[in-house]
Amino acid sequence: MKILSNPNNTIRMRFLGALLSLTFLTACNKELPPPKPIETPAPSGETIMEKLNAADYSILKAAIEKAGTFASTTGKLSDILANPEGVITFFAPDNTAILRSFALMGLPADASSLNFFRAGQLDSLLKYHLIGGLSLTTNSISPVAPALNLYLQSALLLAPPSPSLPPGYRMPIFLGKQGSSGFVNNIPIVQADIAAANGVMHKTYAALLPPDKVIWQTIAANAGGSYDYFKAAVIRADGGESASGQFQSALSTPNANFTVFVPTDAAFEQTLTQLIAKALMEGGMPQGDAVSAATLLVGVYGPTIISNPSSIPVYGPGLAAEITPELLAGVVAYHIVAQPGTTVVGYRNFLVNFPATAANLPTLVNASVPQHPGLTLQASFGALGITAATVKGLGNATASNVVLNAIPGVTHDIHHINGVIQRIDQVLLPIPL
């Protein structure tokens, strides 16, 4: 070949060689970089499940393990608690708290009381201690009236979302704050904001017991025989016993949320006596006689004065004219705390969620009288908790007291799926009698 026979061959080959080596050495383009995933910082520290290895959570841990044997549609609780990529808020009753709850339930204050619960029950119970998707520290709660708590959804599923995508409903759970103390429902948080890799844990004073009734069930059953008058007022205001009645349906709706102030029967009797005496005096009867007659009528006929006043001899027509369904509707509405513009949603005020400084809350009365000031709530807090809680109606001369009991759930903070009942010692009047 000519190229090889040429005397200048060496020089040329060097050129070529240099050029080639240069190209081989340097001709290396960077590949187009692939999209770079956003790095979520790897969760550090223990998961909530690992936190529960501490000795004072042994009963809770055992309960979680037992719950895990139940095939739940919403997943195994221990998996959720142990998932380092999850985000949850978990309320953890320690051993003391669980034993305390056992005692309240009338069970032996012993770890063995767990045996009274089936795995499925424990799964439901414990999922009520969990809020998914949020890591809620007590700082997240802004103590703003009217209800000083957050209306949240626990992991205890009541109605699953269906393929047509309604939202689904979970047993609501309420995170509140009084001063610097946090509460879940009305249970004090003993140790708040325990940070974990997959969220935050709050140690609670007792276990959370999910309610199992709606408010109307309690009222309709006249639990403890102490709801006679309120039940009668609701039914008459609704025009009879009917699931579609305004108040009955609202108080039966599971995903509603109310604080219902239910006056004691004694409170109703006192108010009815006053009302009837006043009417009799307006009819010309002297005060002493009127009071006596009214007391007698209330004593003899009791709730019938509300449920069927015209059936009462002699006084029937007069009572019927006075105690109308409209009047009762107004009275009942005034006992149900509501959010303006909605008939099924209000605020769930456990006593710990009462304002320390008097503040007003709207009621269902505001649906027809928007400018009505509503109810005035206030509570006093001592070193050991609530010392007094009051609610005052516009027409009342004095504030009613919430009837306090050593154990919550008897006369105050009577918890339901759709709200809380507070028993009070006066009937709340939207306008003066």
Binding site: M1, K2, I3, N6, N8, R12, F15, L16, L19, L20, L22, T23, T26, A27, C28, N29, K30, E31, L32, P33, P34, P35, K36, P37, I38, E39, T40, T74, G75, I80, N83, E85, G86, V87, I88, L130, I131, G132, G133, L134, S140, L150, Y151, L152, Q153, A155, P161, L165, P166, P167, G168, R170, P172, N198, N255, N257, Q339, T342, V344, V345
Partner: protein
């Protein structure tokens, strides 16, 4: 024998008496190596009679009489005049020369390249024949100071001295004098229309500002491509290239590449010749597969981290449909909270801004991978007199390609036709031509994909489903991103899979519907009409002074059937008139040549624009030339910048014309600058109507060309450019509803930027001829921008340095039948900015190689070519395809 001698004698007799024509056969060879030179022009002096020598330098010419003087010339060789006394076999030896080729574009008159007053680069047919590039058009990227942007296999956009981008409105291209732009786009649609490779005689590139001679647009260079005259190049030629590309492409397997071209030219008589040319390219296009995340809203448009799986608001660069984004919290979750009160507190705990984009489709899934380009052209040439030629020419091109504007556009079944009539004499020409454009089924990929998403599931529904699913997923204890991903999988139920029958049905229905009807199609049937002429008065002045004058008239007829432009009463007409004058004078014994040129253009919608140019060429010694120039250039706003009126979902794009401002009541009720208003609603800066001025540049250049020892050709330049009145868009919001003072609409208006920027650059090229047919060549060039204001996006897009190094041999091996060409181009990293996306491009290395084998017996050549030999994928603009190796085998017959 005696009879033969007798006949020869008669023949001689006849020839000397001038009665009978004489045929001269001969061969032209390189004086240095004795090898035949192809494509030499052999012309009878002072006549139009001429032939072109074949592959090995053989020629045959018939002259009316003897003796005769033949002018033998070829690019890169000294022209020789040969006095022929008899018809015996003639051997002519030409001296190869560098820098001696004649160029016409620099001064609009023929001059030797070495004496050009401004920088000029020339690509000859011989270069094309021996270049590795699969498309002749891509050879431009090897020239010094040139950047190209490849938006598609068939869409290369060159530029010089900065401002690269697909669809470059600052770079003019002329093919045989025809402005090659698509009238509605104002830039050349790659190589979709134009010459077939076999018909290219030469390409001349003028880097930098060149409006003084060529009018609006040539701010960053002008490319002129000249075809072969059918009188000079006759017969059949064809070329077949088949190859393979997309090797190792993870998204698209190796695929074939086909490029066939054909040329037929016939000289019927001394007066009449014609040609027919055609080219067909078919391949699977390069794929744009940049799936990086893009910060579209409220940012500078830079790329950022994030994938579909890790960013709910992911907006991939080459993923379309995911531009639709909303704040899930404010627009969906808050509404859910109102309907579902038991979620309200939970929702209140979520961040105020949860941007979520819809799920897009990749470019791979949306665009037909087949890129096709079919070109056909023809010309009739008639010589009315030996010095006056009439030409009737037509070109038609159609094909599929993709280009990057503010979005990626699939130009599908685009059709462009060009027709020209020209009268050309030695000293003058007049021509009239038209370009007829039809955008076919071209569509905007972003708009089409977004509308496609609305069609299969409206956003109102999609986001509602997403919102519910997101909440439920979160409440099940998932972390945020997993909840988002679960929500997306729920909302995407029913999403047509790319390529499915349902997908195709819906996609076709959207892409064939105009943008204003919630589709992605842009209709465009715009035309351009031009008439121009030039006269060279020099000979009338006995060449004492060189004097040239010319002028043109241009009319754009914009017709989008009211889908794109503000057409109120039928198509929009834009008329432009321009005239130029050039005076040149050689002084001091031709040691100095001064030239002054000026051009005045008036567009009916803009104030007149005067663009001067002054040049000087100093010749201190033979083959040494120093050039100095002051040049200016400008461009009127593109036809779209003038007349667009298009609602694009997020707002309306309007042109600069006052009529449109009036139609939107922006004169009486000015819009408010949007970025400031969105950042702070109290910050209301009105954008008052101002007549838009053409964008302009002023440039100074010093250059030096020399031919050393007749073997080493050197060309160097330094330039500065000063730009002002950049044309750009500004987003405004206009409060247009009296009954609702809070309601406003978004409008994007065209304004001049008050930014003034300076550019600076230099370049150096060497071409060294070595013994044994070796050549070594190389160049280095640099471009920089200065004084860029902080808030101004210059889109300069040039590397600070780029280099080319190459070695070639035009004949080695047995009988010197082999040849090769190897070169390596490198460019530095580029901070690339465009309306589409912003990112830094990594340095790019490209090695091209070609090995040729001549087949003289059948006038053919075989070539094995490799573009991007090492298959190192690269992109030269953000969002553009990754270009890998293209390897082909070419057979060319009779490429003269």
């Amino acid at each position: 024998m005696r009879i033969l001698r007798l006949l020869t004698g008669i023949g001689l007799l006849c020839s000397t008496s001038g009665i009978y024509a004489q045929t001269i056969k001969g061969n032209v060879r390189n004086s240095e190596n004795g090898e035949g030179i192809a494509a030499v022009s052999v012309v009878l002096k002072n006549s139009t009679t001429g032939v072109v020598a074949g592959e090995n330098g053989d020629f045959e010419i018939t002259v009316p009489s003897l003796p005769a003087v033949l002018v033998v010339s070829s690019v890169n060789y000294e022209t020789q005049e040969v006095n022929v006394l008899n018809s015996s076999f003639l051997t002519v030896s030409l001296k190869p020369l560098l820098g001696q080729e004649v160029v016409v574009s620099a001064s609009r008159i023929g001059e030797r390249a070495i004496e050009s007053p401004v920088t000029i680069e020339r690509v000859s047919a011989a270069t094309i024949k021996n270049a590795p590039s699969a498309s002749y058009y891509d050879i431009i990227s090897k020239l010094k100071g040139v950047d190209v942007v490849n938006a598609s296999l068939t869409f290369t956009s060159p530029t010089t001295r900065g401002f690269a981008g697909s669809g470059n409105t600052r770079f003019n291209q002329f093919v045989d004098g025809i402005d090659n732009q698509a009238p509605a786009l104002n830039f050349s649609v790659g190589s979709v229309v134009g010459l077939s490779e076999l018909d290219v005689e030469s390409m001349e590139l003028l880097p930098g500002a060149s409006s003084a001679l060529y009018g609006s647009g040539g701010m960053n260079g002008t490319l002129l491509i000249n075809s072969r005259n059918p009188f000079n190049y006759t017969g059949l030629s064809f070329q077949a290239k088949t190859g393979v590309m997309n090797v190792g492409n993870q998204y698209r397997g190796a695929s074939p590449y086909y490029n066939f071209s054909l040329r037929w030219a016939q000289k019927i008589s001394e007066k009449f010749a014609y040609k027919i040319t055609s080219e067909y390219v078919h391949a699977k296009d390069w794929l744009a597969s940049d799936y990086r995340n893009y910060g579209r809203v409220g940012t500078n448009g830079a790329l950022k981290d994030g994938t579909r799986e890790t960013d709910p608001n992911y907006d991939g660069v080459n993923v379309y449909g995911d531009e639709t984004t909303i704040n899930l919290r404010s627009l969906v979750l808050n509404a859910i909270g109102n309907q579902v009160p038991f979620w309200q507190s939970y929702i209140n705990q979520l961040p105020g801004n949860i941007p979520v984009s819809r799920t897009g489709y990749t470019e791979d899934e949306l665009v037909d991978p087949n890129t096709v380009n079919f070109k056909v052209g023809g010309a009739l040439h008639y010589r009315i007199t030996p010095g006056l030629e009439a030409i009737l020419m037509g070109h038609f091109g159609t094909g599929n390609t993709v280009y990057t504007g503010s979005d990626r556009y699939s130009l599908k079944d685009l059709k462009i036709a060009q027709y020209k009539f020209e009268l050309k004499a030695d000293n003058w020409f007049v021509r009239a031509y038209t370009t007829q454009e039809n955008a076919g089924e071209s569509h905007n990929l972003t708009a089409t994909a977004r509308q496609f998403n609305e069609l299969w599931k409206p956003s109102a529904q999609w986001y509602q489903e997403y919102g519910f699913a997101y909440m439920n997923a979160k409440m099940a204890g998932l972390n945020d991103i997993n909840a988002h991903n679960q929500a997306r999988s729920v909302a995407d139920i029913g999403r047509p899979a790319a390529g499915s029958a349902e997908f195709t049905r819906l996609w076709d229905s959207v892409r064939l519907k105009p943008i204003y009807q919630n589709g992605g199609l842009f209709l465009d049937k715009s035309d351009l009409y031009v008439a121009e002429g030039q006269y060279n008065f020099s000979s009338l002045l006995n060449d004492a002074v060189e004097l040239l004058a010319g002028g043109n008239w241009r009319r754009f007829v914009l017709n989008s059937e009211k889908t794109l432009f503000h057409e109120v009463d039928g198509p929009i007409h834009i008329n432009e008139l321009g005239a130029y004058l050039q005076v040149g004078k050689e002084l001091f014994n031709n040691r100095l040549k001064l030239t002054a040129a000026g051009r005045y253009d008036k567009n009916e919608f803009f104030k007149g624009k005067f663009t001067p140019r002054v040049t000087a060429v100093i010749k201190p010694a033979q083959d040494h030339n120093i050039r100095l120039s002051y040049q200016t250039a400008y461009r009127f706003p593109s036809t779209q910048q003038q007349w667009i009126d298009l609602s694009v979902g997020s707002g309306t794009l309007i042109g600069s014309n006052r009529v449109i401002w009036e139609a939107y009541d922006l004169i009486n009720n000015p819009g408010i600058s949007a970025p400031e208003f969105i950042a702070n609603p109290a910050n209301r800066i009105p954008v008052i109507y101002e007549e838009v001025k053409p964008e302009s540049v002023t440039s100074y250049e010093v250059g030096y060309k020399a031919l050393l020892a007749r073997k080493l050709f050197v060309d160097a330049y330094v330039y500065t450019g000063a730009y002002e009145n950049f044309l750009g868009r500004r987003d405004v919001v206009q409060f247009n509803d009296v009954s609702n003072p809070a309601a406003y609409r978004g409008i994007s208006v065209v304004v001049n930027s008050d930014a003034k920027v300076k550019t600076f650059g230099w370049g150096l090229s060497l071409d060294w001829r070595l013994p044994s047919n070796f050549s070594v060549y190389g160049n280095i060039s640099s471009d920089e921008i200065k004084d860029v204001p902080n808030n101004f996006r210059s889109s300069f897009n040039s590397p600070k340095y780029r280099t080319l190094l190459g070695i070639s041999n035009s004949g080695f091996g047995p009988k010197d039948l082999f040849g090769f060409n190897l070169n390596w181009r490198w460019q530095d990293e580029v901070d690339f900015e465009s309306d589409f996306a912003i990112s830094t491009l990594d340095p790019i290395h490209v090695v091209d190689f070609a090995l040729m084998y001549k087949l003289p017996a059948i006038k053919s050549q075989l070539k094995i070519g490799a573009n991007n030999l090492f298959n190192q994928y690269y992109t030269n603009a953000v969002g553009n395809p990754s270009i890998g190796g293209l390897y082909y085998l070419a057979f060319v017959y009779n490429m003269q």
